[in-house]
Amino acid sequence: MQQSNDSAHAAGYSIIGLVSTALPLLLFAGLCFMWPQVVRGGVYAVQWPWMPSLDIVLHFRLDGLSFLFGLIVTGIGFLVTLFAASYMAGHPHTGRFFVYLNTFMLAMLGIVMADNLLLLFVFWEITTIFSYLLIGFDHESAATRDNAKQALLVTGAGGLSLLIGILLIKTAGGSLTLSEWIASDHQIRQHPLYLAIFTTILLGAMTKSAQVPFHFWLPNAMSAPTPISAFLHAATMVKAGIYLLMRMHPLLGGTPEWMGSLVVIGGVTAIWGAVQALSPSDLKRMLAYTTVMGLGMLTMFLGGNNTASLTAATTFLLVHALYKAALFLAVGSIDHQTGTRRLERLGGLWRAMPLTALTVATATMSMAGFPLFFGFIGKEIMYQGALTEEMFPQFATTITLLSNSLMTAVAGIILLGPFTGKRPDHLENVVDAPLPMRFGPGIMGGLCLLFGLVPWWVSAYLIQPAVHAFSVVEKEVQLAIFHGFNTPLLLSVITLTLGGLIYFSRKTLRPAVTAALDAIPLTGQRGYDITLKGLLATAHAVVDGLQNGSLHRYLRITIGVFAITTAAVWWFNADGWTLRLRSADLPLSHWLLVAVMAVAVLVVVRAQSRILAVCALGMVGGGAALVFLVYGAPDLALTQLLVETLTLIIVSIVLLRLPSLAGPPPGPVSVSRWVDSLVAVGTGIVVTTLCIAITNGTIDRQLTAFFEYNSYIAAHGRNIVNVILVDFRSLDTLGEITVVATAGLAGYALIAKRRQ
């Protein structure tokens, strides 16, 4: 094994990695078989009952939208896994890595194919957890761990919000099964809970898809290995929020709340990401901010309620996934081959890494939106979509224009920075990445060009089936290389010009942006830090207050809470202080018995001698036995007396080994002890009141009547108590003797351990 590992390392790939490419490849092939059916609008659905009584069914459904996402997840999944097989070669935990990666991919497929909302939530959480594990994969670094934790907390909180939303949907009468819900035409938009549902679902989507103000975790997540950034944080997981919004669009979309908030949030996120992308010198971080921009764009277009906007979102989804994954992987290659991702340390690499340079070229051209590239088509349809937004079309168009211009400039920086100019001395001996690492980005870079050349095919076979799956399409918006001389084309020209201008003034602009960003007092990151610090401080305060290690304190709190809550419940439910006292014609002997017991209790409390206390306790127990006997419970009286006897025996054995009761010398009683007495007396009064309140109410004797009637007839026993114990309620008794047995064995273990 060691041998094969070494040879694999020498060859520059991990065998586990190569083997794990089989899973995404098979899934991708499987999806391709379903392609013809899906294009015709067909739907595949399977289901297995899981918790039917709770409306939770393992219900999977594949329609055009799921199919598009499925292709992206498995296709890019395959290429990324192949890349990683080489990139991660020699890492000590490759096995773990590929297990995480494949599990994540399956969970992601689960999200896009789940037809049951709770099932979707389960997969959603699985991707959160695996994202955490993958971001923190190089867990030796504290910064990496913090970043992973941040992603987990932010997206995890969003997941909880999503869960609340799902439960609210159920409350509002919607079905948890998406297809049923759509088919039932249930109008949840008019429901009073609509706003709450929309907000919670939106929060889930915003955290997952890194929308402002929750966007900060995404750039930090770049401490993950690069294939992970490409797969999770560019192509798939961050798109889960987008997917959710798409799925919810026919059910919750189209309202002013939906359209207004999505356009504004998406727009702000897009421009914020685009501006920030100018600043970093780390290529990967730069890409992360452009991803934030892309996610903002997608959200913004989902705010529309017309075919153009939704087609724009769907098209850009694919455009973005392709060029962004390609770029991330290419940056990974650069990092892998040169050991750095910093712009100022890179340059002139096109001769050393020609294929990578070509890949980056096609991908950045697509990103910038040059004609003939897929990105150009995406951009045309984006302008068309922005212009037709129902709410704030001018805002959307301006944002699209500015963001795209900035993207063009960033694309220029990413392409021209590392590959042109003079090659620095330390990069003299750099060669291109090994084949598996060139393959994936190369394919995706090629697709960026190819899809741009055959837009009608992409439109008919990928985009339209997806758009049809989540919206009502009246007139299809076709993709084409050239739409004629219209506003979008004009805007495209402006974009390229403006982008060029920004690129050429980058030397002055970038420091200015960095300085401006540093000057902002409250960012999402700082908000997160403050929240986290506040939470920790609160937790410490609560723990120090409640869990301070003193048994006395715990007991006081527990008993006090019991007394206060019981009293409160009684106070708010009882009809006043009309307690009837029922002790009219009590014989003197009974009074005497109770009085003796009460005195015995006082003796136990005050006793300074163990023997005295034990005797008094025996009197209390014996008194209880007499009470049982007098009121028709001979079984109890017998048992109680026997237990008193045995207790006495055990006490006489054990107590003599414990020190005497002699407490602190008599002196002024401490304040703490007064508080104790207060708690004690208060609890006593609560119990007395409770008991009187119970006995004042009517009693339901149905069960007792049943037992009395059936004891002999059905269970052949004349002692009803015993029949209850061993026949009617024997399962309870079985549980109880198990407790007894456990106590016995635990006590034995304590003593036996001592003997060894």
């Binding site: 009590l586 407490g663 008991c691």
Partner: protein, 127 residues
């Protein structure tokens, strides 16, 4: 009788709480015994004390003809007494072992598992 029992159980609970709060393991045990007795009596009273006839079916009948004492709480209490005793015996052993190991019955001095807040500057971390 229910009202009288109510007052008695209240007294027993008050005494048991006071004992359990006394920071002395021996008194704690006494408090525990009192508490379990009190709860048994409480359940007993809650089942009403209207007759002194035990819940037995006479030899010549198939079911009880006259009103008998409520059998359901009796069944509950019966097992409660025995379980209470088993747990009491266990606690006796636990406490005597504790005393042998730590040499004290003062609960405030038993801080091995949870150091007092502020006793250890590095929270939750024991040297």
């Amino acid at each position: 009788m229910e009202t009288v029992l109510a007052i008695l159980t209240g007294t027993m609970v008050a005494g048991s709480v006071f004992l359990m709060l006394s920071k002395n393991l021996v008194r704690f045990i006494f408090g525990l015994v009192l508490a379990s007795n009190a709860v048994n009596l409480l359940i007993f009273a809650a089942g009403r004390l209207e007759t002194s006839r035990p819940p037995l079916i006479p030899q010549d009948a198939t079911h009880a003809a006259v009103a008998v004492a409520n059998s359901l709480p009796q069944a509950l209490i019966l097992t409660a007494i025995v379980i209470g005793f088993a747990l009491l015996a266990f606690i006796f052993i636990l406490f005597s072992r504790t005393y042998q190991t730590l040499g004290t019955v003062d609960t405030e001095a038993m801080t091995d598992a949870e150091p007092f807040a502020g006793e250890d500057s590095a929270k939750g971390r024991r040297p």
